[in-house]
């Protein structure tokens, strides 16, 4: 037993030392490559770019591919609303990374409005890229015990610390502000090969299967919902408005039972028009809007943002369960 206790102490000590290694923040983002380099761009856009951010779109690749920030900014300018719009979408779901980005936003840019993406359900896990860039305190910031990916994320965080030890001794250099693109929209030009503008019957689960799926979504959503509330509270404490943009997967676009009341209780919702999201020609695949879809959506988003930044949004009754059609009617 002596050796077992010593083993446990040695193991815990080594893990603690690894966890506490002060790997520089910028160096952590510099290690991101290929698709993950998008997160590095978002970091540099927030931290290094001199261009302000007034309207920040925060979310997953749904935002990254589906929100033409430059077009929205131009349309706002056409209405004499001079606001800088930034698409800060990062591939893959996971709210903890979005909270991290919002913290940076609050610290560096003080935006006027944050538009946070929502879809049919909250991911029950943390972001796959978060362990590469988070601090130890970020990992334990939220209700980590509800994060289904926590053990793997924590081990990945420790691995990042171990692998990046040489970065402790390397000088860090900020990105040149001139080299950072102001706009983060990444358009996808091709069209989904679904072949027609109707929802395939197979893509729309029905009856018991659908109810079971959504029951499971609700029962595993605690982690994500907790982090969304933290994002909302952080924004509120810093006098930043927050709105929720529903960017659905294609199969959900003609459904009316999507449960979004959590978000409706937290702030105004933006439901894209059916003419855009229920048309498969606007999708690059079953999940992401293509360039045409993003261009078709931009005028609507510009209208919504103009309304949100120029008027006080209508109060939303927390218990009311809105369907996308209801919300669309309200938006009209």
């Amino acid at each position: 037993m002596k050796i077992v206790w010593a083993f446990v102490v040695g193991f815990a000590s080594a893990a603690l030392v690894l966890a506490l290694l002060p790997i520089p923040e910028r160096a952590r983002y510099d290690t991101l490559h290929q698709d993950a380099a998008r997160l590095k761009y978002v970091y540099e856009r927030i931290v290094d770019s001199r261009t302000p951010i007034d309207i920040a779109f925060v979310g997953t690749s749904h935002i990254m591919n589906g929100v033409d920030d430059q077009d929205i900014e131009q349309r706002l300018r056409d209405r004499r609303i001079d606001l800088r719009v930034a698409n800060l979408g990062v591939i893959m779901p996971g709210r903890d990374l979005q909270l991290l980005m919002v913290r940076k936003l609050v610290d560096k840019k003080a935006p006027r409005l944050i538009v946070l993406e929502v879809d049919e359900h909250e991911p029950p896990y943390s972001h796959a890229l978060a362990p590469y860039v988070e601090e130890l305190t970020d990992i334990f910031c939220c209700k980590f015990f509800l994060d289904t990916r926590f053990p793997a994320s924590f081990l990945l965080f420790l691995k990042r610390q171990a692998v990046n030890v040489p970065l402790l001794f390397r000088a860090q250099q900020a990105a040149s502000p001139e080299a950072i693109d102001d706009f983060g929209w990444l358009p996808i030009e091709h069209t989904w090969s679904a072949g027609n503008s109707l929802i395939p019957a197979s893509a729309s689960p029905s009856g018991l299967q659908q109810r079971l799926k959504e029951w499971a979504y609700r029962k595993t959503a605690w982690y994500g919902i907790d982090v969304v509330k933290r994002i909302k509270n952080l924004a509120q404490e810093n006098a930043i408005d927050i709105a929720f943009l529903y960017l659905p997967e294609y199969a959900y676009t003609k459904r009316s039972s999507v449960d979004l009341q959590y978000y409706q209780a937290l702030g105004p919702m933006i439901f894209p028009p059916q003419s855009v999201v229920a048309n498969s020609l606007n999708y690059a695949d079953g999940v992401h809007l293509n360039a045409g879809g993003a261009r078709a959506l931009a005028p609507f988003l510009a209208d919504q943002i103009a309304a949100l930044v120029t008027t006080t949004p209508a109060p939303v009754i927390p218990d009311q369960k809105l369907s996308s059609e209801d919300a669309l009617r309200r938006a009209k």
């Binding site: 050796i3 206790w5 040695g10 815990a12 080594a14 081990l155």
Partner: protein
């Protein structure tokens, strides 16, 4: 689910071990069934289809062994048929495509392609294990009453050795099934913890880091790129150490996992790179395979009983077949032939040349020179073992000796990292006690005092933390492919 995976370390192994120690309180039989079930789960999760081949092989070999034990008159015929069946199955799954390729090249005619069948995991290992069992049945080393399905199933499928060895004899394992595993438990569990940790560290920290130096060099060489001499040597030496730490790390973890249920399985390595001759190298490298080849191939071929020339031929054939056992391809044939030639040269030198040379003294210097020469020969042959083509191997070896300029770039990690990893590998290989020695210390209770146990436990804890953190999802053990 490799040994070096979170699923194995945090899920499978704890459940298998804790379940075993709970169940064994009820009965030994139940405990053996539990281990068999765990072993089958471990095997099935790799590829459920493989269990059909492995299960059929196990069942047929069990029946063949029973028939050999019961039928004295036809025992030899049954044995030969069973061995032929095993080798045919191995040949079908492992060598058919290679054989067709060879025939096509020889006759210059395109033959209808044989069906592409996936190689069942561990087939080389469980086939050899079972052939050895059949031979031992025929040689009456196993009594009929000891041939019990429950024990045979666990002997063949026992998860610490089923995928990549060591190749076991029944006498290595089956006698421990009858309560032996409970004896001397504390040192066994201590050794289990230490060996599993050392093995994991060898794999995830040393082997996987060395792979980042070796892989780009071999990929470039296979692609026809001419490397600088430095890049080629870094690649060659890094692979030599990578393979050693990968396979010996696996073997340490296998021994550790088996000790976790109180059972000893044999060590497969005994510091082979410290060997001062190629003959000695093969006594220390993959020892269970060397023993198998010696007992079931070299000696039946005649061994050293028919004069030196026949002896050299037997050695060469044994090593050639040992090379082919590792894989279907010309590279493995060349690798086996090289080692056969090295051993023959070593025998000729030792028996014919060395006795006629004047005694020059300096035994340490001679041993060191022998060790360096051995390491160079082994590393030279590893080029064929690792490269995917013969051209890739010759390209790398040519680059290593051609002293070409450093403008021939390969995407290897930084030179300082590569050299640091090689230095660390050399230090662990040549300066540290090996797993076999550490195991002996534990068994001799030299790691029992409060201070020593605490120091060793602390060190193992630190090694385990680093090793677990560096576990990689995309790094299977190299010997799993054989």
């Amino acid at each position: 689910m490799s040994f070096a995976s979170y699923d194995f370390i945090f899920l499978f192994l704890p459940i298998a071990l804790i379940g075993f120690w709970i169940v064994q309180r009820t009965s030994d039989r139940l405990a053996l069934w539990w281990l068999s079930a765990a072993s089958i789960v471990f095997y099935v999760q790799w590829n459920p289809r493989d269990v059909i081949v492995a299960g059929t092989s196990l069942l047929l070999n069990f029946l063949a062994a029973r028939a050999i034990l019961r039928d004295d008159r036809n025992g030899k015929v049954i044995l030969l048929v069973a061995i032929a069946g095993n080798l045919l199955a191995l040949g079908f799954f492992k060598y058919l495509l290679f054989a067709v390729d060879l025939v096509q090249s020889a006759i210059g005619v395109q033959l209808p392609g044989p069906p592409h069948v996936a190689l069942p995991l561990g087939i080389s290992f469980f086939t050899f294990t079972q052939i050895a069992y059949l031979v031992d049945c025929y040689a009456k080393k196993i009594a009929g009453r000891d041939h019990v399905f429950r024990e045979y199933l666990l002997f063949v499928s026992f998860f610490p050795h089923s995928i990549a060895g060591p190749i076991l004899h029944h006498r290595n394992l089956i006698p421990q099934f009858h309560g032996e595993f409970r004896r001397n438990l504390e040192p066994k569990l201590t050794a289990a913890l230490i060996l599993f940790t050392i093995g994991l560290f060898k794999k995830t920290v040393l082997a996987d880091s060395l792979a980042t130096v070796a892989d780009p060099a071999f990929t470039a060489a296979d692609g026809g790129t001419a490397l600088s001499a430095l890049a080629a040597w870094l690649g060659l030496l890094s692979y030599s150490f990578q393979l050693y730490f990968d396979f010996s790390g696996y073997s340490d973890m296998a021994v550790g996992a088996a000790l976790g249920v109180g059972m000893h399985i044999p060590f497969n390595f005994n510091s082979p790179y410290r060997a001062d001759s190629i003959i000695e190298f093969w006594r220390r490298w993959h020892m269970s395979l060397s023993a198998f080849l010696k007992d079931y191939l070299y000696i039946p071929l005649g061994g050293n009983r028919h004069g030196p020339l026949r002896r050299y031929a037997n050695v060469f054939v044994t090593m050639l077949l040992g090379g082919i056992w590792h894989g279907a391809g010309l590279n493995f044939v060349i690798w086996g032939a090289l080692h056969g030639a090295f051993i023959v040269i070593n025998h000729v030198w030792r028996d014919r040349v060395a006795p006629r040379l004047p005694e020059i003294g300096f035994p340490r210097v001679r041993r060191a020179a022998g060790a360096i020469a051995t390491l160079l020969c082994v590393a030279f042959a590893w080029a064929f073992f690792r490269a995917t083509t013969v051209h890739g191997a010759t390209n790398l070896l040519t680059s290593a000796v051609a002293m070409r300029g450093s403008d021939l770039v390969v995407q290897q990690p930084s030179l300082s990292f590569s050299l640091a990893m090689l230095a660390a590998a050399g230090l662990v290989t040549f300066a540290f006690p090996n797993s076999l020695q550490i195991h002996q210390w534990v068994i001799d209770r030299r790691i029992a005092g409060w201070r020593v146990a605490s120091a060793v436990g602390l060190a193992c804890g630190v090694l385990a933390a680093v090793a677990i953190v560096l576990v990689s999802r995309d790094s299977p053990f190299l010997y799993f492919q054989f």
